[in-house]
């Protein structure tokens, strides 16, 4: 394999490998992980590729250690990443929280499989979407993005690093087994066409520097270890100096800022794509491996004259709340096919505030929806509307 960081050209690779290539193209030079199906190919690709670009690959003793090592490497100045699946994602949760409170940029790729527990190691699931949102203890904001194809595994992993570096936060790439194991063409553009963002570092004198004092962006400007600022970084509630201050007043100040730095900038973070929303009465809300069967179902329904549109969530967290709220005033129903029993559907229902119906099309995992299941789900809603009209 060539030693260049950006392997410009067309490749026939799977989503896991595309994610690894995206990471390296974004400047990732540290990977710590632990083998787990169906995410292992991310680690294997990194193990093969990182030495050639002067990066470090290390297989840790477990996922707890992997996440800790990623945080340590990030403070050593590296763009750092790990990849895992359900069981490992559960183990990473505490240190993801450490990454949030210490404002450590890093990327976690979760190739979701069926759960709970060991569940379906080799088969698809999307049951970790709410864990991505709330899995670590305490109240916080997180960024999670959801690729739906190998090409998006490449593109979105680059975006994950850019978001992590911009907002100083762990960013979750919530893929799944189908997206991770699909092999198809992935086009890697020339390096100069890839937008790469690097964290901003302090330049002022260390004597007057306050690590967690922020300007209106609410994002702190932090040095790496060894830059001469002699900072203290702690998982305890801290003040602008970074010193532990465990009282209600400092807690409110710190937690509010951690939440606001994401909420305030959500327009920059939230990314989505739409199809046929103009005049649509029913909106299919979809992400990850559910996107393709949903697209197919939409085309089939539209061929039958049903006014159905599509909303593809590229960013899942923070949630596209404003958009759903706006759409709820115009449409009759949201239909949410996902490989769980309705996690994102709950969010859609909450944001629609009773103004439009929300219908979940569940799947327990082990595969993805057949387009017909989604078509049937939409038809059920149409029949329900018909009955309602007749009763009137």
């Amino acid at each position: 394999m060539p030693p260049e960081a950006v392997l410009t050209g067309d490749h026939f690779i799977n989503g896991d490998e595309a994610s690894a290539e995206g990471a390296i193209a974004a400047g990732c030079r540290f990977f710590a992980g632990y083998p787990i199906t169906p995410a292992t190919e991310v680690a294997e690709r990194m193990a093969q590729r990182l030495p050639a670009v002067s990066g470090i690959y290390i297989q840790m003793e477990d996922e707890i250690a992997s996440m800790a090592a990623v945080l340590g490497a990030a403070w050593g100045g590296a763009k750092a990443m790990t990849s895992t699946s359900g069981p490992g994602f559960s183990l990473m949760m505490e240190n993801i929280g450490l990454g949030i409170i210490t404002e450590t940029p890093c990327v976690i790729v979760n190739i979701q499989r069926g759960g709970p527990s060991t569940g379906l190691p080799t088969l698809c699931g999307q049951g970790d979407m709410m864990q991505a949102r709330w899995g670590s203890h305490g109240h916080y904001e997180i960024i999670a993005i959801s690729p739906s194809s190998p090409q998006e595994m490449f593109d979105f992993t680059i975006r994950a690093f850019n978001l992590a570096e911009s907002f100083r936060i762990p960013v979750l790439v919530m893929a799944d087994e189908v997206v991770g194991h699909t092999v198809e063409r992935v086009t890697i553009p020339p390096a100069k066409e890839i937008k790469v963002i690097n964290r901003i570092k302090p330049t002022g004198p260390p004597e007057t520097y306050l690590p967690y004092k922020t300007d209106r962006s609410l994002i702190p400007v932090l040095p790496d270890a060894g830059d001469g600022y002699r900072i203290h970084v702690t998982g305890l509630t801290h003040d602008e100096r970074g010193y532990p201050m465990t009282d209600a007043e400092n807690q409110e100040k710190m937690v509010t800022r951690l939440i606001q730095k994401i909420q305030k900038n959500r327009d920059q973070i939230i990314d989505y794509e739409t199809q046929f929303l103009d005049g649509a009465k029913i909106v299919l809300v979809t992400y990850g491996s559910s996107v393709r069967p949903t697209l197919r179902a939409m085309r089939s329904l539209r061929a039958d004259g049903v006014k159905v549109g599509l909303l593809k969530l590229n960013t899942v967290w923070p949630f596209a709340e404003d958009l759903i709220r706006k759409l709820a005033r115009k449409v009759d129903a949201f239909v949410v096919p996902e490989v769980n029993f309705g996690q994102i559907a709950l969010e859609v229902e909450r944001c629609s505030g009773g103004q439009a119906l929300t219908s979940s099309i569940p799947h327990a995992g082990g595969g993805i929806h057949k387009p017909e299941q989604i078509v049937k789900g939409v038809e059920k809603i149409l029949r329900g509307r018909e009955r309602k009209r007749k009763r009137r």
Binding site: R29, F30, A32, P51, I56, I58, M60, E61, D62, I64, A65, S66, A68, A69, V70, L71, G72, A73, A74, W75, G76, G77, A78, A80, E94, N95, L98, D224, A225, G226, D227, G228, Y229, R230, I231, H232, V233, T234, G235, L236, R241, Y243, P244
Partner: protein
């Protein structure tokens, strides 16, 4: 600063976050002496302070990172070693050391210790063993002696404690020493040697916890407690680490037990790249020499 002010400064002030004093440690606690020895070792090391980074876990000893005026990381419970591993590998020019307690490093974090020593990551681990979980009020730890009373062993501890120097040596640590917090000079010397030694170094500091541990086992005042530890210990440099087990009726063995050379993980990595995957099993790479 005036000359008078300069004279009034404590010689360790340049490495103390003075604005964080008073510290949380109880009177008579062994952590203070270990912390002080650590500062002296850093001052004597002759390396720029900005090149040092300290990583701690959670607990009384885990608070050391917050008082030391260098780049300092106070991480999650048990995870200081893997955090330090990432930091060291990402920025090899840093001298990274871990300072934490025995509950943090060997109970919840035991697996990480084993593997960092095995990999020979160039880290120094300083462990204050106070034989219980002090911060949470004195519960049994992996190093509480058999029969000792703690809040969670009210009838006495039925479990055999870990022998830390033996574990460290078995896992491949290149430097292993154990001292009492009373042995400030020897301890300082050991920490300094460990900090300068390439590879995974381990220094155990046995320190009294008079408030949480001593009180429940009727070990007397802090002074009486450290006297007891001192009278019941003996220095035996270079003995086999297996002979350092702390047992009833035997003196605690102190000293430097291991000081060997072994290529570090960062020294091994480029050899793998150059070897092109053909080394194992024929062209054996020398990984250990007892000559020190």
């Amino acid at each position: 600063m005036t000359e008078k002010e300069d004279l009034l400064r404590h010689p360790k002030d340049d490495l103390l976050r003075e604005d964080r004093i008073p510290h949380i440690w109880c009177a008579g606690c062994g952590i203070g002496s270990a912390f002080s020895a650590c500062i002296t070792a850093l001052q004597k090391a002759g390396t720029e302070y900005d090149r040092f980074s300290i990583v701690s876990g959670i607990g009384c000893s885990g608070r050391v990172a917050g008082y030391l005026k260098i780049d300092s990381f106070h991480t999650t419970h048990g995870r200081a070693i893997p955090f330090a591993t990432g930091l060291k590998l990402a920025k090899p020019e840093l001298n990274v050391f871990v300072f934490s307690g025995e509950g943090d490093l060997f109970a919840i974090g035991g697996n990480h210790f084993i593997h960092a020593a095995r990999r020979n990551v160039d880290l120094t681990v300083i462990c204050v063993n106070n034989m219980n979980y002090g911060m949470t009020g004195g519960q049994v730890s992996a190093n509480t002696p058999i029969g000792a009373k703690t809040t969670t062993t009210p009838y006495g501890n039925p479990e055999i404690p870990l022998n830390l120097p033996s574990l460290a040596a078995a896992c491949g640590a290149v430097y292993v020493a154990r001292w009492l917090s009373l042995d400030v000079r020897r301890l300082t010397q050991s920490i300094q040697e460990a900090l300068m030694k390439p590879g995974f170094s381990f220094v155990e500091v046995i320190g009294p916890c008079p408030v949480a541990f001593g009180r429940r086992n009727r070990l007397g005042t802090p002074l009486e407690m450290i006297k007891l530890y001192n009278e019941n210990s003996v220095i035996k440099n270079n003995v086999h680490p297996d002979e350092t087990i702390i047992e009833e009726g035997k003196k605690m063995v102190l000293g430097k037990f291991v000081d060997i050379q072994r290529p570090t993980l960062l020294e091994m990595l480029p050899k793998m790249s150059d070897a092109g995957g053909t080394v194992w099993p024929d062209k054996g790479i020398v990984t250990e020499s007892r000559d020190g």
